[in-house]
Symmetry: C2
Subunit: 188 residues, 2 copies
Amino acid sequence: MDNRQRLLDCALDLFSRYGYDAVSVREVVEYAGVTKPTLYHYFDSKRGLLDALLKREAGRLLTEVLVAARYQGDLVATLESIARAYFAFAQAHPACYRMQLGMYFSAPESEANQAIRPFTNQQREILEGVFIQAAEDQGNLRTRHARYAAGLLGTINAMIGLHFNDGLVLGEEPIYLTVHQFMYGIFS
Amino acid sequence: MDNRQRLLDCALDLFSRYGYDAVSVREVVEYAGVTKPTLYHYFDSKRGLLDALLKREAGRLLTEVLVAARYQGDLVATLESIARAYFAFAQAHPACYRMQLGMYFSAPESEANQAIRPFTNQQREILEGVFIQAAEDQGNLRTRHARYAAGLLGTINAMIGLHFNDGLVLGEEPIYLTVHQFMYGIFS
DNA sequence: TCCATACTATACCGACCGGTATATTTTGTC
DNA sequence: GACAAAATATACCGGTCGGTATAGTATGGA
């Protein structure tokens, strides 16, 4: 009965499958079983719908990553915690993660990319913060936190891609392998 | 004077900046200084324009990666050669690589994703082939070639992302660091 | 019971979409 | 220079786009 939530659910499903630009507001409201004025009652525009959707969906991921990324002196354990959070989220909410991934890599001047940028920036800061804090304990990785954060997230997303496309189950083993390869290399 | 090439150039520029779906054929032809029938003389449709563009642009990347990925008994050297090829291409043709990256991560039922899938599949086969061949020499990494190929490409793309967004210069040092971290871990 | 507010539907807007029928110009060949 | 073919322009098509003016209905408080 909550048409606002229903509209967000339907928008998520359609955006994740076809992309924000390729989906019209007509398709969203028909899929949701309502009419356009209902959508425009809750959201000012198509872009407003997207912003509200990201606030709900990307916000969830962000808080889970934020919790998982609290550094407690053990870099390996922290990175495993982060990988676990990403993998769990991607498995629990595949459409949501697909959409965010697609928007992250979408064209830099597209609405979708601009809408998701605040959220990806926060993710980036969280991950870099882990390596900056770890650098206080272990030397060596100073000034490289940006590369490490980007590299880790790139590897995590690569594994999530294998999960989406090839059905790789993202249990404890991939978490262990991902982090240990990152820390100790391919032969670890 | 070659309007066909000019149309492809303009389409690449616009697609890479705004995304395939957000760019209209009107915008392409106006940017190119021609009219629509000229575009439809060379390409059957907007999708045909995209296919021709990918054949030209993604084909270039593919052949360069194919050459770089010839395994010659030294896995580290081969991976460095691959990273060098990707980095060089991304730096020499940023709009082209941006567009391909965006389409690779675009929604699975979008035209853009379907159009680029053959090319990404070939890249994947090339990279997996390297690890499969290397597995004949070194044990250990058998049956994990898919994860290694995905992980390596994920890391490479992460570095290219830092190049695009933060101006990281992709010279020999990032090549060395990327591959050695992949092979031997973060402290190598 | 009255009223304000939140919500939803019908019907419509101008602009733009991808694509084309037709006509004209350029170009290479003999 | 005649002529066919390739290339380009004008003008237009039906359909869909994001968005809205207007009106009606449901709902909860006084």
